[in-house]
Structures are given as C-alpha cells and as structure tokens.
Symmetry: C2
Subunit: 461 residues, 2 copies
C-alpha cells in the first residue's frame, strides 16, 4: 500500500477514477434477466462480479448455479467472535431497455454527462451494489481487516421474479445467518439530502386475458350482437380503481396498517418539492387519494396500475374488427399488513364477479412480494443515520419507498433479519426507463457512507 | 361461338371451370390497400382486372391514376336510347391478413375445400365483383349485346378509406350517370336463402391517444402520485357504451330514424337461427340492446366498438411501468339519419368532457361514411328479387347489412342513384378475418343472378 494512505476513506477517495472505470466495465454487460436471449450476458456479469469480489479481498466467492441465473456468495468472517455480521444484498441483473429509440446514448455504452453516468443498471442496481464491494475493499487493502463480519449475497433475477434467491434463502439459513441485512437498491431525496428508507411496498402482479369471439370478426357484421372483449376489459379495469385513486376490490384495504400520527409527522418532515417531483414525472398534474399527502401516496399507500394492455388491431391505419382477445398486465403495490396471496385471491374473485358472462376472463398471478417496514430506532438504523450525516453533512430524513424489494421480506421471514436500506439513487435516476443514470458524486459518497456505516455499526453493537 | 350454346345463362354454366380458374388467378395478387408495401400489388391487381374486363368485351376500359390506388372504368353503351343504364360497382383491394398464423392455408394461394374457395378477398370483394364481369361477358359472347347499358366503376381503396373514389364521383357525374347502381359487396342469409340488402350502416372511425407522464416510469416510485393513461383510457371507454350496448355519448341517438312497425315486421321474417349465428361468431353468448332483436341490433341499430388498444409494456413477462401513453381505435356503426360528422363532433366533445385533467387526450377522425337505406319497392329492387327467385328457387328476404359501403351514400348524394345491393356472400365467409372464403356454388349462381337481373331490369323499365 501507498503509505500516504492512512484510512479506508482516504483509499476510496484516492481511487475514485479507478472505481468509476470499473463500474463502467460492469455496466457494459447487458445482463437483462427477463429476456432469454440475454442469458449468456447475465452469466458473464456474474463472472465479472465474482472476479471483482475476489480482487477486493472477499473470500469464499462462489458463483452458485440455479435453475435460471447464478447467485453470487462471498464473505469475510475474521472480525472476531463478538463482532456482528452484516449480510449485504444487491443484484447484477437489469431491466429491459425498450423503447430503445428514446435513449440518448446506447444503454450499454456508459457515458458521463454533467456528473451523471448514463447506462442501464447504473443506479438499479449495479452502481449501488458496487459501492459496498469497494467499501469492503478499502478496509481490506488499508487495514487488512473489517470492523464487522460481512457476507455478500447478490442475485441475477431481481428484475424478473427472483425465484432462485427465494428458493435459496430458506434452504441456506446457516450460510446466510447474520445480525442485520444491508441493501442498496433505493434512493435518497436529493444530492444534499440523505434519506433512510424504512419501508417498502409489496407487489401483486396479475395477468388478465379476456376472450370474446373465436376470431377477429367484421365489426359491421357482428357489432351489436356480441360483446367486444376490449370494451369488456375496459369496463373491468374501470371498476378496479376509481378516478380518485381508491382501489375498489372488496377487502383490499382491510389489512392495511393505519399510519400512526407519529409516522405521518415523520413523513411530513421529508422536504418534498411537489412541483419538482411532478416535473420529473412529466405528467399534467398530481393525482391520487386526496386524503393522503403525495409522500404518503407514493410510499405508504397501496396502489393499482395497469402496466400494459393490448388487443385487436394495433397496426397503422384502421381495421374494423370486433377483436377476439384483449390482454392486460396489472400490478398492485402493497403495504403492511396486506398479504399478497390474499390480495391476489380477492382480485381474482372480484374480477370474476364483475366480468360479464358475454366474455371469458382468465386471470393468473405472475408474482407477489410482501411489503416491509423496519423499526427506525434499532442500532443498525442509528449507525446508518450517523454514517449518512458524517458523509453528506446533513441528517438523513426517513422515508418509505414505493417500490418493492421482495428479498427484504424474505430476509425477515426466513433469517429473522431486519434490513437497513442504504440507497444512493436519486428521484431523477430514471430506473426502468430510458436514459437511466447514476449521480457520480453519489457513487463516491456511497462508498464513503458504507465505510462509515460498518464502523458505526461495530461501535453500536 | 359454339352453336350448342343458346343463351348467356348456358354460356356461364358451361364455363364455370374457366371462371373459377380466372378468379383464383385474381386472388393470388395480394392487393392490400392499407399497407404501403403492397402498393405495387394493388396496381398489378388493377391491371389484371382491366385486361379481364377488355377480354370480356367491355369497352373504353381505363385504369385511372389517383393520389393512391387506381380506379377502373369501363362501359358498354349500345343497348339503345330507351334502355336504362346500370352502374356496377366493386373493389379489387383486400383487407390485411394478420394474424397470419391463424390461416389454414396461404391467404394468397387460393384453395378449394368442401366447395369453399379459401383466400383473402374471395368473398370481399374480388369474387363478387368478378360475378358481374362474367355476366356481362356471357351476354356479349352469346348475343353480341346487353339488354341494358352498363358502366363499371371499380376501386382499389375500399378497405382503406376510399378517398380517391370519393373525390372522383362528384368530379365525374356525367361519366358515371346511370339509372341505378348495382353493388355486390354484401351477403345472403344461407346457400338456399337469397336476401336483398336494402340498408347499410355508416361509419365514424376515431383514434384516441392518451398521454400521462413524459416517459414510462417506475410504477413503484410514481404509482399513487400521478394518473395512469391506461387506467384513464379504460375509464373513458367504459363511459362510451354501457354493458347493455347503449352508447352513452349525449345526442348519439337523437337523429336515429325510428324503425317503423312495417319494417320491424319485414325484418322479423328473416329466418335467423340465433344459435347458428352465435356459433359462427364463437362468442360465449349473445349480447346487446335487449329491446331490439338480434337482426335489428346487427343491422338497423348503431353501435360502438373498440377495434384496437395498446399501451405500456406488452412483451413477455412483467414490467412494472407506469406507462406514458395508451392508444385506442374506436369505430361507430351508424344508421339513418345520423350524420357522421356530427357524431364525430359529439364523440370528441363528450370524451374531452369526461377525460380527467390528469392526462392529455387527443382525438382524431380517421374516416366517416353515411348510412343508407334503399326503398325496396322500386323497379330495380323488384328485378333483383325476381332474379334471385329464378336462380335460387326461393323468394329473397329483405335485410339490413351491418357493414358500411360508403360509396352507396355517395352515389345517392352526387349521382342521385339508388343502389341495389346484390350480394352472394354468406355469414360464415370470414371477411376481414383469417380463412376468408367464398362458397363456390354462390359464385356460379351469382353470375346467373346477374344475367337474370339485367334482363329483368330491362323489362321493368
């Protein structure tokens, strides 16, 4: 080691350019897990990351084959018998890139413009998982040791159901045993405003197929005499959620844990600029349940959105068909204590009740995940708050994230672990959208924050 | 001429195999007018048909260039100054063929199975327009003359808006002047039950584009805070027509000419087997305005159908987007005296009124056509009834056709012509659908009926 480097933080500081170059190489691998023709790319990303972990000094690194995409495991367990163990989670797979024509640069040729690194996966989640590998490396390169034990479990199916990890966790409780889980797959509020996410929404993703006539028919010859599956599907969708954002499925809200006045107060401290948020979305105006604030609506309230719809003739020009079929993909974001399986059953029951007998409606559950909330007063959460404050120079606010990270619920269920969600993304990172990006200063600060967290957490325990 | 052939009917009878072979050649040309990459095929079909007309003895045959696809004109005007003139209309273009995988044989490689000729355009409308060319040929080959004057006007844009003919008619009133129009682009009820269509529905075809956020967003980060354009579009569609088939656009029914009790009685005589009709459609059950019979609903009542819808992620698997856009193609079938332009305006006004301010809704009119009804007691209608009865051995019933043939309204408006709709299709011909077909015995009987009609009409006048 260069003897001018005295601390892990210093090491990370001096190696920023290297870290960015490495991340760019990682982002060049198009590891789209949901598209079968990218399976080899997903495997290549796993191999690349395994090598990066070994190079960082992480031990026992294994590429674990599954029915689909490999899992990565690695650890460093020499902090002593009394030191706590941190289980670090992330994912190396990415979302699809369509519509490709809206990208300003190739999604897999990363470029930096105005301090943002543009690439698919930059923020979700390659950039964020790499933060912790570099933090661990800094300790091992400078001190030869870490203040805590660490285990890494990194998956390649987060964007496509995560079945392999879901099966692995209950079968490998001892391997994954830890005192706390650390997940970087979320965001902070602004470059100068760190935030700790203490809640995640769950997910219930449904497919609906509506069939009317046996084939596409001439709408003149048959129109008026038989029902149209697109009209019928529209009627069903219109009865799923009203125009003010209330889900109309009976029983949907029955198990929703009411927000306490303490929690509403905590959430209200979030410095949310609604106009800026709306400008980021690019929608004409805000919308949703008027009895809740925007912050509550997008993080602490359940929702229902149609993610895709198709039916009939969608080519250029007109075609006067009375179509045979219409399809919709519909997902519900859930909050504690909604049970995803129960919600799926309520959805199916309600839709079959309101579906007219003039069409056939088939419903299937595509995937589900429970919501989660972590107590923000536990030691690891305090350690995270202290680390953020030291690096960003500002106390973090507490927020709930509207997205879903199913593994957090699984860590709780099978390993008895609470999770600290230590994210470094920003609201404008365009995850799942064209021109995804990661704010480069947050990448560097993320590494510093992870370094501080491991130290603070060791001290708290 | 072979001196064993004594009449035009006899000539047509003895040349059935030739006529079928010629039609098969005509059907091999993929003249899909709405798809620009088939423009050369449409032109080839026009040239092929022009030659067939000349070969039949039709005079002054011209391929008339337009802004899009050519029109065909031809005539034979030597029946004498007192003889009436019949203007025969048809179209040589066809509908698109998708979904191609549902065709049991190539749509442009015609095959005969169980007396049905399978090919795109077999029934709509190549087979039907060819009937009249062969009828005229039979007269000219056997007698050297026709009992009436005839003019042909045949277009290549019927399946894609028909703008060129719409422009041609008002500008060529003298060329097209006649006493009656004859159109074969409809059907009869069953092989043994001829029918005369005396009414056609009109058309008002709208496009609707709904835009929410500026790009597809992560439904976890934004869901609950902004409106979803697919949900919004579904709410709009659900308010266009109720679940019993009533269109909810204010003013939509204001100009609908009530069905007289005489006409309801006439329509009730149609031997309609509802179960057979439903089996043909392949839908779970009948549907629509319960205060009207099925025959009335599919022919004499206006309707509204969504012909196509698309929005968000429609690929394999799931993607949790809150989509930027959703699109629908919506067409209304109109009846006398609804004004298509007024209906388009009412549609636009209503949709903009019910559209939520949380999305942007853009509406455009794709094409319109007026509905029409012909008095079933005029001489040409009586001549048609007599011709059908002589050839099919059964009196025709009277019916309204649910489809739209815009040119019928234009003949009335610009040329002052009533139209006889002399069709030979069957309800199971699958026009606009995969596996379109034409019943070969109806092709032959159609030629005989056309031959009889020209004679009967000359006698009536």
């Amino acid at each position: 080691m260069n003897n001018l480097i005295s601390t892990p933080a210093d090491f990370a500081q001096k190696n920023q350019a290297n870290h960015l170059a490495e991340l760019i190489r990682f982002l060049q691998i198009p590891s789209i897990s949901t598209q079968p023709d990218h399976a080899a790319d997903v495997a290549a990303a796993a191999d690349w990351l395994a090598k990066a972990m070994r190079d960082a000094g992480i031990e026992n690194v294994r590429v674990i084959e599954t029915n689909r995409h490999p899992l990565l495991y690695g650890d460093w367990l020499h902090a002593g018998p009394d030191a706590p163990t941190v289980l670090i989670y992330g994912h190396y797979d990415v979302q699809p890139v369509d519509p490709l024509d809206l990208w300003e640069s190739d999604p897999f040729e990363p470029v930096v413009r105005d301090d943002y690194l543009y690439a698919r996966g930059a923020s979700d989640d390659k950039g964020q998982v790499y933060v912790h590998i570099k933090a661990v490396e800094a300790y091992l390169k400078v001190n030869g040791r870490l203040p805590v034990n660490v285990k890494f479990i990194i998956e390649g199916e987060e964007e496509s159901g995560g079945e392999s990890l879901s099966a692995f966790i209950p079968a490998n409780k001892e391997l994954l045993a830890a005192d706390i889980a650390l997940v970087s797959d979320t965001g902070i509020l602004a470059p100068d405003q760190p935030a700790i996410v203490y809640g995640l929404r769950g997910m219930c993703y449904m497919l609906m197929d509506v069939t009317g006539p046996a084939r596409d028919l001439h709408s003149g010859s048959f129109g008026g005499g038989i029902d149209n599956p697109i009209n019928a599907l529209s009627h069903i969708i219109a009865r799923l959620k009203d125009e003010n954002g209330h889900v109309l499925i009976p029983g949907f809200y029955d198990r929703v844990r009411p927000l306490s006045s303490d929690e509403r107060e905590l959430l209200s401290q979030l410095p949310r600029d609604e106009n800026k948020w709306l400008a980021e979305a690019g929608a004409p105006q805000l919308w949703g349940e008027s009895e809740f604030t925007l912050t509550e609506r997008i993080g602490a309230r359940p929702t229902l959105d149609v993610n895709g719809i198709i039916g009939g003739y969608t080519g250029p020009g007109g075609k006067t068909v009375l179509p045979a079929k219409a399809h919709a993909k519909i997902s519900m974001r859930l909050v504690p204590d909604q049970d995803p399986q129960e919600i799926a059953a309520l959805f199916q029951k309600y839709v079959q009740e309101i579906a007219p007998p003039t069409v056939k409606v088939e419903i299937s559950v595509m995937h589900t995940a429970p919501a989660s909330v972590t107590d923000y007063s536990i030691p690891a959460m305090k350690a995270a708050a202290a680390a953020y404050e030291q690096v960003f120079g500002k106390r973090p606010v507490y927020m709930r994230e509207g997205g879903s990270i199913p593994v957090v619920g699984e860590f709780q269920t099978y390993l008895g672990l609470e999770t600290v969600l230590m994210g470094f993304g920003l609201p404008g990172d365009r995850i799942h959208s064209p021109n995804e990006r990661f704010y480069v200063p947050n990448f560097y600060k993320g590494i510093q924050t992870s370094i501080r967290f491991l130290e603070e957490y060791a001290e708290q325990m």
